[in-house]
């Protein structure tokens, strides 16, 4: 295995007043990764990013970039560049001057600066606006300036702080693709901070989910979604039904458990369970049917439809099972009839235990 480009080792950040923003975080980020720091607001993800850039200093721990400890390296000497949430494009400079700024202040020759600026503007498709001032540009264009300005420095790592949060929905989708394309073209490591799970899942090659300053799980998007390691991750990434279960017995990898909602069933797990566990099942993995579903392995129960929310491509059904709600996603795969589910209807809910997951923490 090659050396990680960034190695964050036991980093903590405590602010005056006793607030612990980042709590003993260790992450290794490999060369060329598109890495996402994902979490609700206030989880410490931005503080962590700012510590990588050098704009904050860790209270404890080490940050190693490209094999060098960055403890005494100020931001202007680090091989990282940042795209700020507010873009922070210099208002008194033209697009060209903005992009060339980082080269000019570090003494890169004028002709090389010019060449690299032209190149960077082409990369973000802004060549035609080189002479504009930022106040004559849209938010999306300003963000491209911020991107070009950071990329022109050829950093080892590009840091992006909530880059899409200020854009409208359509532009956000375009920019998401654009960022992925850019990352593949320039071949440098991207670290993106976001609170939006869709953003992280669709762009990142690996994600660190953060909760209250600590890392809850580091995994690929698919792993996070299908194999969350704890309740926080399961709940934060996508939607999930969490069922409280009492464990009856565990034989090797098979656990037999009992839940109030769907009764007794056996399920496979790698974990060693105590007397209780939580069964997590995603809404799209639950099936609705009018007739009792056949199949010995299926877990099934009767339910009453309490609410149906129509989303075009899918409908989200809330079904009542003995006083508890289950959320079920139904594909509207026919133009006639939609999901065919109506409020007040009595239906069977079933799932395959392979599609459910045992969580112990």
């Amino acid at each position: 295995m090659t050396e990680p480009i960034i190695s964050i080792r036991n980093v903590s950040k405590r602010f005056a007043g006793g607030v612990t923003a980042v709590d003993n975080v260790s992450i290794d980020i490999e060369q060329n990764e598109f890495f996402a720091l994902l979490g609700p607001s206030g989880c410490g993800k931005t503080t962590l990013l700012r510590m990588i850039s050098g704009l904050e200093t860790p209270t404890e721990g080490q940050i190693i970039i490209g094999g060098q400890d960055m403890a005494f390296t100020p931001p202007n000497l680090r091989p990282t560049n940042m795209v700020f949430q507010s873009y922070a494009v210099f208002p008194h400079m033209t697009v060209e001057q903005n992009v060339g700024y980082g080269l000019k202040v570090t003494g890169v020759a004028a002709d090389e600066t010019k060449r690299r600026v032209v190149e960077a503007l082409e990369m973000v498709k802004l060549s035609h606006l080189a002479a504009r001032k930022p106040d004559q540009m849209s938010g999306g264009q300003r963000q491209r300036v911020a991107l070009a300005r950071a990329l022109v420095k050829r950093p080892k790592v590009l840091l992006l702080d909530e880059p899409l949060s200020a854009l409208d929905a359509k532009l956000r989708d375009d920019m998401r693709m654009e960022l992925t394309r850019l990352q593949e073209t320039v071949g440098i490591t991207f670290i993106i901070v976001t609170h939006d799970q869709d953003e992280a899942l669709s762009m990142a090659s690996r994600i660190a989910v953060m909760d209250k300053g600590a890392v809850a799980q580091i995994a690929t998007p698919a792993e996070l979604y299908e194999h969350p390691s704890n309740k926080f991750v399961a709940d934060f990434i996508g939607k999930v039904n969490l069922l409280d279960a009492s464990v009856i017995s565990q034989k090797g990898k098979t656990v037999t458990c009992n839940t109030k909602m769907v009764g007794k069933f056996a399920i496979d797990t790698d974990k060693t369970c105590g007397s209780t566990a939580t069964i997590a099942i995603r809404p799209e993995k639950l099936k609705l049917s009018t007739a009792e579903p056949k199949g010995a392995s299926l877990v099934k129960t009767k339910a009453m439809v309490r609410d149906v929310a129509y989303y075009g491509d899918t409908s989200h059904v809330i079904a009542d099972v003995g006083g508890h709600d289950l959320e079920i996603n139904v594909q509207n795969d026919s133009r006639t009839g939609g999901s065919g589910v109506e409020r007040g209807q009595k239906l069977w809910v079933s799932f395959n235990p392979h599609d459910a997951l045992v969580l112990t923490e």
Partner: protein, 280 residues
Amino acid sequence: MSVNLKPGQGPLDYARRPWIIALFAAVLLFLYAPIASLIVFSFNVDKSGVWHGFTFMNYVKAWHNEQIFYALSNSLTIALISTFFSTILGAMTALTLWRFKFPFKNAYEGFVALPIVVPEICMGISLSMFFSYTGMMGAVRDWVWPLNLINIIFAHIAFSFPFVAVVVRSRLVGFNRQLEEASKDLGATELQTFMNVLVPFMAPALVASALLAFTLSLDDFVITLFTSGPGSVTFPVKIYGMVKRGVDMQINAASTVLIVITLAATLIAMKMQAPEKSGH
């Protein structure tokens, strides 16, 4: 009951009502008639209060009047030097207040702004006493020009730098700190960041407050009177002395010049402070 309004006249269209227009005209007249007459009579051929014909003679005479010329050059010298130092001092004060946290910061901020509201007469007396007790008043009398103006320059810096600090401070409130961080992140040193990001951002406030300090200094009378000696008469003090001795249209001419200088400075200040227009 409803009021009958003429077409195109809204209930809030006060500006169209004749009595409002008359009142507006009266206020303008009250404000500017004295100044206008001062300017008009600066072109009068004799010094009676009656118009006897147009001439530039008063300006020529004032220009060749050594005392007026000396006072005016004193005033301009004092204004330029005190503006230079009070702009730097004021900007530094504003930056300190904006950037750092320190004990008693609020109290300090209040004390910095205090000279703006302290009556000029009090400042004049206290400065005059200060210069007397320290021996500065007598000492500078024999110094070579423009060093003999140093007391007045000190006094003018003291009362004008708070204005600079307040103006620059309010500009800095709107500064996006991420611009500073972006500059450092892009490889700029602390000094480069200050010169390339912060100074251009402050520039309109710096120019505007410098012009403010300039005009404040140029026409200050009270504080200057208390701190000037016989050899360091400024323009406003000189005019006051001349008026005491009798009416002379040279005074009108010189005052008109002062009005023009002040007005020009103010116009430039306003233009610099106006928000930048987009789409030009």
